[in-house]
């Protein structure tokens, strides 16, 4: 009997000992911290790349990787200027509607095949094809005949040809100032046809005959994808066929680290080599003497704003919108919340882009705001909802804005939604106002003025405030045709002023972006645009 009782007890004891042993093994593992790789550049991404097909990417992080793995005819350098990529040289005619690109014959995909002009034509057709799931056909839509081709009314794109293996000719319907810049975007990057396959039914493109990479992507950029564990990490290695392939860095490891605090901890513990410093940590990093020489900073080509739904009463009244701008002390917000590391926005075009103009912002004047509201028929103020997506920075800014607006009788209710629900409601014009920002995809004022304020883009096109002004539409269309930099700068500065006067947003600020770079890293320069990242000249000292 005693033996029968002892059995389960012994089993329980054994189980307990086993579990304790497991815990012990886990702890013992702590004694064997792995050595870091001296030739690996360790970086972090906030979100896992889901697809690395340049025709399909829309996220910043996916675009960043594509710019390393693929090539366009041109690319952005670290300062945001245009540099040769697949095209060694290019020329335009006098009317700036005909571009001739001469390809660099040294360029090869990582599978060893040389890139030729017909690859460029095929890659552009793939994006513009009827029923293509590529979400950004607008990147190439200025090419003559692109519309007919997309609608299935033409077999080829009339303005796109490859007269020989190393020449690409592109003709536009009319001059378009930012066209060359747009050729550096992922949607205009070139892919090897032989590496693509039809996706299965049910996946976007499956029924449309759209070919995509069955596994890791193959491009002709300076880096190739060596390993890709979705949700965990992405490992890049130099493309041995590329003339600028890195001789000093053997691997670039992007780890997916969703939490900002964790990314900072990884950098401070030496596991990351370069860190984009999250806004709440910027003050601490700047005050820390250890990083004094290791911080790079640059005004971001980005603007933060509170969009006001211009089509929705009472916000369709410009007096109400101006009053809202006058009610918020933006200078104080910048001083307190960003510790002064931002530039007040008095327009949408950020500093660093032609067309940016240092105009006088709306004066903080709560009494004047109350008077304007009274003139507009709201002497007792008005209620208002401001929508935001989840972000700690957004909370801090909007709570302060809520306080300022309360002072002038505008009672703000903050509505927080995750990105998908936020975007759906805001793009459909179902909200009074929303807090958002806009990044430059390409360094041109057109990238801010046209999508954000042209009535053609009302809703999902970028103009989520439903700002509509025919005279301004005409000015925007005319400015896009200007190819002279000086003329274009003046035109966009004027448009930005006219729009600012209409107060379609509560204009907030242009942020600064800060990178911390490990002392082991040399030769790295933070890019002006996320697509301008380039590690080919970077070196890493041994530990």
């Amino acid at each position: 009997m005693s033996r029968r009782r002892a059995g389960p007890v012994a089993r329980a004891g054994t189980l307990f000992a086993f579990l304790a042993g497991c815990a012990g093994v886990v702890c013992l593992g702590a004694c064997s911290r792995p050595a870091s790789d001296d030739d690996t550049l360790n970086l972090a991404l906030a979100a896992s790349p889901n697809k690395l097909d340049p025709a399909l990417v829309v996220d910043v992080d996916e675009g960043r990787i594509c710019a390393l793995v693929f090539q366009g005819l041109v690319r952005f350098d670290q300062s945001g200027g245009l540099a040769a990529d697949l095209a060694k040289t290019w020329s335009t005619d006098e009317g700036s509607t005909r571009y001739v690109f001469h390809l660099d014959t040294r360029m090869k995909y990582s599978n060893g095949r040389r890139v030729n002009a017909s690859d460029v034509v095929w890659s552009y057709q793939r994006v513009l094809a009827p029923s293509s799931p590529a979400p950004r056909p607008w990147v190439l839509s200025r090419i003559r005949g692109a519309g007919d081709f997309s609608r299935g009314e033409a077999r080829d794109i009339e303005g796109l040809s490859a007269p020989d293996d190393s020449t690409v000719v592109i003709e536009l319907g009319e001059p378009f100032g930012p066209f060359l810049s747009m050729l550096a975007l992922p949607a205009a990057m070139v892919v090897p046809r032989e590496e693509l396959e039809l996706p299965r039914e049910g996946v976007p493109g499956g029924r449309a005959g759209f070919l995509t990479f069955p596994g890791s992507p193959i491009g002709s950029g300076a880096w190739q994808v060596a390993e890709w564990e979705r949700g965990d990490y992405l490992l890049l290695a130099p493309n041995p066929h590329h003339p600028r392939a890195s001789k000093t860095i053997g691997k670039v490891r992007y780890r997916v680290v969703p939490e900002a605090f964790t990314r900072v901890a990884e950098f401070e513990s030496g596991s990351l080599d370069i860190l984009e410093i999250p806004p709440p940590e910027q003050v601490r990093f700047l005050a820390d003497g250890r990083y004094a020489e290791r911080i790079q900073r640059r005004p971001a080509l980005r603007v933060f704003y509170i969009g006001i739904n211009n089509s929705r009463p009472p916000f369709d009244d410009v007096r109400v919108r101006r009053a809202l701008n006058m009610a918020v002390n933006v200078d104080r917000l910048i001083e307190v919340l960003a510790d002064g590391h931002a530039i007040r926005a008095a327009g949408a075009v950020p500093p660093g882009l032609r067309g940016h103009e240092g105009r006088t912002p709306y004066r903080y004047d709560p009494a004047g705001a109350r008077r304007l509201l009274a003139q507009a028929g709201h002497p007792d103020g008005l209620p208002m909802e401001i929508w935001q997506r989840d972000s700690p920075e957004g909370n801090r800014v909007l709570e302060a804005v809520q306080g300022y607006l309360h002072e002038v009788g505008v009672e703000v209710r903050l509505v927080r939604r995750e990105w998908s629900a936020f975007k759906e409601a805001v793009s459909a014009g179902r909200v009074d106002a929303f807090y958002l920002d806009w990044y430059a995809d390409y360094p041109d004022p057109e990238n801010f003025v046209y999508p954000l304020f042209h009535s053609r883009n009302a809703g999902g096109g970028g103009n989520r405030v439903f700002f509509r002004d025919e005279s301004i539409d005409r000015l925007i269309d005319a400015a896009a045709r200007l190819v002279d930099a000086g003329e274009s700068a003046r035109a966009y500065a004027r448009i930005d002023s006219l729009v600012y006067d209409q107060a379609p947003w509560i204009y907030l600020y242009f942020p600064e972006v800060f990178y911390a770079v490990s002392e082991r890293i040399s030769g790295y320069e933070m890019p002006a645009l996320y697509l301008g990242e380039d590690f080919t000249g970077v070196d890493k000292a041994p530990e």
């Binding site: 307990f16 579990l19 889901n50 697809k51 950004r136 979705r230 939490e259 998908s420 759906e424 999902g460």
Partner: protein
């Protein structure tokens, strides 16, 4: 027991059908549009409409539901909108990460929890008991994200003895912080339940008989009382283990652990319907399996429990 197991397994089918239906319908009630997650911040209506067609999102609800159930009947969870991968492949890749973390966390929770509970019961109403129970209150009250951040700061940033985050190619050192973070609340509950169960059992006749026979107190506790006191512990451990297997979203996010929790969260944020539905179904299967295992374990631990039979009073 075999018959009972088969009956319980058969119940999986209607339950899963219910879960699948509720998840499918919920996706239509929730705000958000999967197409808008795919097109970035600048898009035109023609593109979104084309994608909706491609993804069959314009099909009538009933048609989509029948197609979905048809896929499930063939064990096909569909393909992710965002990655294009079969959902089952994604779950199969991500689940081992979660399983590894869940097993480690559970082992730590049981080792610490049962150990602390036994110690507290053995040293009842002594400073050691008060200390252990005080620690459990702290453990239960401490939010996971706060503890995780604290552990990273102390052990990775300040002391530099443990990695801050990541899977680290499976090296055990990378498990330490996330597993302890995930385990702390369970360990605290297990300790409290172990202690109270042991104290409750210690007044039973069989325990008093053992004491009367002159068995030393520590043997009374470990050999006689502990076994019977384990039953409520198994319940808590089973429930927690089931939830850990479904992915610990907070812990996985803080520690950049590429498990099922983060996969599901990403899918929800992107409105990746096939991935959400697949993940929820998989979690339901896990939960039911763990519950079944716990019920079977009851019978092993306490032979008085007869599974599947109604007790007549």
């Amino acid at each position: 027991m075999f018959g009972y197991t088969i009956r319980r397994l058969l119940w999986f089918v209607p339950i899963l059908l219910g879960v699948a239906t509720v998840t499918f319908l919920l996706m239509f009630v929730l705000p958000g549009d999967p197409v808008l997650s795919m097109v970035g911040e600048r898009y035109d209506p023609e593109t979104t409409e084309r994608l909706r067609e491609e993804m069959h999102l314009n099909d009538p609800l009933a048609v989509r539901y029948v197609k979905y159930l048809g896929g499930l009947a063939r064990f096909d969870l569909g393909r992710s909108y965002t990655t294009g991968e079969p959902v089952w492949d994604s779950i199969r890749k991500r689940f081992p990460y979660t399983l590894r973390l869940a097993v480690a966390a559970m082992a730590i929770a049981i080792a610490i929890g049962v150990g602390a509970g036994v110690l507290a019961a053995w040293k009842w109403r002594t400073p050691l008991d008060y200390l252990a129970m005080g620690a459990t209150v702290v453990g239960i009250s401490m939010p996971v994200f706060w503890l995780g951040v604290l552990l990273i700061y102390v052990f990775a940033v300040k002391l530099g003895v443990l990695p801050a985050s990541g899977y680290g190619g499976g090296r055990p050192i990378y498990l330490v912080l996330p597993a302890f973070t995930l385990a702390q609340a369970s360990a605290a509950y297990v300790a409290r339940i172990t202690r109270s169960s042991l104290l409750e059992e210690s007044g039973e006749m069989y325990v008093r008989a053992a004491r009367a026979k002159g068995v030393p107190e520590r043997w009374v506790l470990l050999r006689h009382t502990l076994r019977n006191a384990l039953l409520p512990v198994v319940t808590v451990v089973g429930a927690d283990f089931g939830s850990y297997l479904s992915g610990a979203v907070l812990t996985e996010s803080i520690f950049a652990w590429p498990g099922l929790g983060r996969f599901t969260l990403d899918a929800i944020l992107k409105r990746d319907l096939p991935a959400i539905q697949g993940a929820v179904l998989f979690m339901a299967v896990l939960f039911m399996t763990v519950n079944l295992a716990v019920d079977l374990l009851y019978a092993r631990i306490d032979p008085r429990i007869q599974l599947g039979r109604r007790v007549e009073s």
